[in-house]
Symmetry: D2
Subunit: 341 residues, 4 copies
């Protein structure tokens, strides 16, 4: 069946899979002590123009968030996030399970605004009883956000400034970073993100890998014994090659950006199809996830021919649903969708 | 370089990799809601002759131990293990990070004996102040053990009886289960293990998969909302197909046992080579890991031609090292080792 | 200096202190295994008209919240609370430190409304992806609330009904319960609270004890091995008599209610003084905490003669402050305050 | 009934209780921001001859251990302790509940020897795979130990040296410190302990207070935001005066040492009575806890006339029991015991 259900419905991009096939028989040490992992890290540092970066590979997004946040925060600290943030809502309490509170602030189009953060921090430290409360210890943002929106360079710079003024590490969840970097509307490059953030991760799972996320500590600021923390969280991959080889492929010959660009091209066409047919959008998304408002009857009818994701109820008679594109989305898929609509 | 460093030095068994290649382009739902995952679970239940089993797929061993133990134990409980158990020593405190103590008992050849467990439990409940202590909440064993040894049917039956008398779930870490099942010396079958244990996992990573372990709750005894607990631990794989497809391959046409048998055949030959050359063994292992005592000078010399694992110091002049076989070990490898020795 | 800073500025009510003095030399077993603790529990059960109740004594409020909530919730659950709830804001992340999320909902005058709870629960279970989220596992309310307000019998009954429909234990933080029970405006009795709630605690620290809170599990529903959980949280008092003797005194001859009534009488007079002088109130509180809006200049001037608590900024020029009465507040104190104002 | 059950069977020493009575009506700020707490801290710093010390008051021993250890350790670290240590056995998993492992080493007479610690640390860091294990992060000792034994100055100096060589904070559990300081056989003074340890606590509960332990960070080394951590653990006392006033009394006019000396005098006489009657001792204890081996029949008979604590089985027919003295033990009690024996 035609599927726009998510950006992880198919296996690996052929070049990623090819790299796994090509290296399959080589004996390599475990736990990331292999040449492909080393090489992939160097390529990522180069792509970030960030020679001081420390790079680690984990398997998935929630895992990455809990390992990073759990390892960076001190016991008396929580992580500040927009109330729409993935860590605040859809990670089954993974952050709290590490003993830390998610301190939520109101969002604007899925984004945390610098002014909102600044006001919260000022009020917090102005409160005499703040030592009875959870201290803010880092700031979490997602880019693209959970609604597919993007921070502008100006917005990210402002947020970064507030974080630095308060000595709070700024952490970007880049599960879909490639789609952000290749959006027609972005003015942020990977080196700029590496410069403005203290920690971020480059998503692989939703960008053509079987699994895998690359954490980048941009300022030689990896927590002490981070390797051991990965192990403690159950996140250390015995066959570390699985992650190294895939990221080595993703960061060879611009593949990561090629995948991003393809999915964005497909998303823009998909957006045009919906617009042309008169469907309203829930939010204007410049990335690979498109949020469309469907009449409930129409939604049920569509479901028989194409898969997509339920997002949230809109009103009694309408629902917000998500259509996602990925490396494997084809022009034929779009044509088929057009016909169905 | 010739390598006997571990049983996870190479990628996937060709049939496992083939299955990933064959299914790569199929659009499938995420999080394990795909037909391959479903099919793999049915095959595992059949292989275990355990229709009541509930099966879940995770990525790695330490992850599996922390998710299972952390989810099964109540807050006032700890897990009982031999003091040589993986969870007690080599998981970077993953169990304690979930808030639970590992209650260690003395081992015999890496095994927890029924009598040792019984004596501990009797003394615990005889102590008036036991409500100031951590209650035993489940029993962890590994099979094969960390020293490659195996429980006999009689030993496992005795242990299982003690556990049932005290209503303690018996959990078997089967990271290398296939090597145990295919050992020349075992008298335990997979259905018998499923019968005697309440929970166990069938290791994939060390048995020819890129990653993956299959948890089997044998008595419809999966903890409530175990799926959510997997997510909370950061252990949910978005592309769940990665695990489902691999286990579907491993449990098709007896592949899992074929891999086990091959590695055992290779290990027995390797054992014979060392014995023939007069090397003493640290422990008699009937499985794919062989623990040899080397003179330190000899060890250093060998390292230049073949990789193996440091295990532990034996005395001032000798070291215990481990040689492991796997699906990818060849007769040629053994010949090469023989020449080097 | 004249002080209305809090309801814990003085030591113990003379009758409570007297009981400690009278029993000081008696040798008694530790950890609550003493006759005073037993007797106090019986008196509390009688006062609650709740023969099935199980009663435990802890030292303080945040401690009680973390022990109760941490012990009752399963790993995949969080506690639902108004976003003004003490557990959500002023306990330094104590709940999260036990691994659980505080799921906040909007408040009305510091209260969680039944309709708000119902709507949240309906939406939660209607969401297909709810197994990626924290499950609601219990409901926390405070009575009096953090703003001194009270649930009516109708409101508490409605909330209790929603909780029971969803099988969620309803837990009341009664740090200041006595002031609620003795308010001129309440229509809720202690037995009614015991009937409508599944768990609540009767505050001692803020009601004339040196320390101490009495947890009441109203339906034989104490978590298994709750004694051990108390110990694990570091909340077990070796000289358990300290708590037992005090609660025995508080629940003898109606002392607990006498203290409550006295403080309420004082609070109503204090309220009248402020009203008479034309000070606006931030919220209408029928209990011992009164929230007054002061001009900042006036506030600074007052501070030199009387202590009170900063609550929150009101606007640029005004601040919300709290005046609290307690067992030790006298008519003279009120006269003095009147003169100062 | 005559009782030697523990050193917390009676209320407070009359001077301690007197101080609570004398200060009962003074209005004081909460959370330890009162003049008695401040004064008590200064007195403790003076008694320790440690002007750099930072002092905090908590309510009980297990609480103190979990707050200190939980706050000092980083996530990848555990606490090293003798396998007889209170934190390893009798705190219901309080340390593990904070996410940290107790790394146990063999004891000698209840003590951790410097050589044992040194050997463990050397082996740990010599192991290539130590980053898969829990790192030692601090060292816990109790003084007097759980068996009433004491470290000599030489032993503590040696232990302290090893800790400093490895940059591990040395933490002493001084639940019964006063009895150690007043033992006839000790050669360690309080200032020496403050010098050799990085953190220790001065027990109050078992030394004549109703509750209370004084934590001393001896080198300006209190963890950042330790106040907030106390709150988070549920260990912050609203009426902080309760602890401050008691410690102010205990450290006025040498009361703490007077209490210690009295109990030691009583213990030596008790020891002489048992010795004279021919009872064997389980361990030679120079402090207030005496461990006697009783025939089981004799034990049952004795129980009818005097209370004492079961310690552990000795053999089939004998049991180790504990008799403890305290501030309230009298010559009459000893005479009565003598008659009974």
């Amino acid at each position: 069946m035609l599927s726009f259900e998510s950006d992880y419905i198919t296996g690996a991009h052929p070049k990623v899979l090819g790299a796994l096939i090509d290296t399959n028989y080589e004996p390599l040490s475990g736990y990331g002590n292999d040449k492909y992992s080393t090489r992939a890290k160097e390529k990522i540092k180069a792509a970030c123009q960030c020679p001081d970066a420390e790079v680690f590979f984990l398997a998935g997004g929630t895992q990455t968030n809990r390992v990073v946040i759990g390892s960076v925060l001190r016991d008396y600290e929580g992580v500040v996030a927009a109330n729409t943030g993935h860590v605040a809502l859809h990670e089954a309490g993974a952050i709290e399970a590490t003993g830390h509170k998610v301190l939520t602030l109101p969002h604007k189009d899925g984004k945390l605004e610098a002014g909102t953060l600044q006001a919260y921090l000022e009020a917090f430290y102005a409160d005499d009883t703040c030592n009875h409360m959870v201290f803010p210890g880092m700031v979490y943002i997602s880019h693209p956000t959970e609604y597919g929106t993007l921070y502008s360079k100006e917005e990210l710079t402002a947020l970064s400034s507030v974080c630095r003024a308060y000595k709070l590490p700024l952490y970007m969840d880049g599960a879909r970073l490639g789609y952000g970097l290749c959006s027609y509307e972005t003015d942020l490059t990977l080196p700029e993100i590496a410069d403005l953030c203290d920690i971020f991760y480059i998503g692989g799972t939703k960008m053509g890998a079987l699994c895998g996320e690359a954490i980048v500590f941009t300022k030689k600021n990896a927590p002490l014994h981070f390797f051991t923390m990965i192990k403690q969280h159950g996140a250390l991959t015995a066959k570390g090659r699985l992650l190294g080889v895939q990221f080595d492929a993703l960061f060879s010959d611009g593949l990561y950006f090629e995948i991003g660009k393809h999915a964005i091209d497909m998303a823009e066409k998909l957006k045009a199809i919906f617009a042309q047919k008169g469907y309203p959008f829930f939010m204007q998304s410049p990335t690979n996830q498109q949020f469309v408002i469907l009449e409930n009857a129409k939604m049920e009818a569509l479901k028989r021919q194409v898969t997509f994701s339920f997002w949230e109820p809109y009103d009694k008679d309408h629902t917000v649903v998500r259509f996602a594109t990925a490396w494997s989305t084809t022009e034929d898929d779009l044509e088929a969708l057009k016909r169905i609509l």
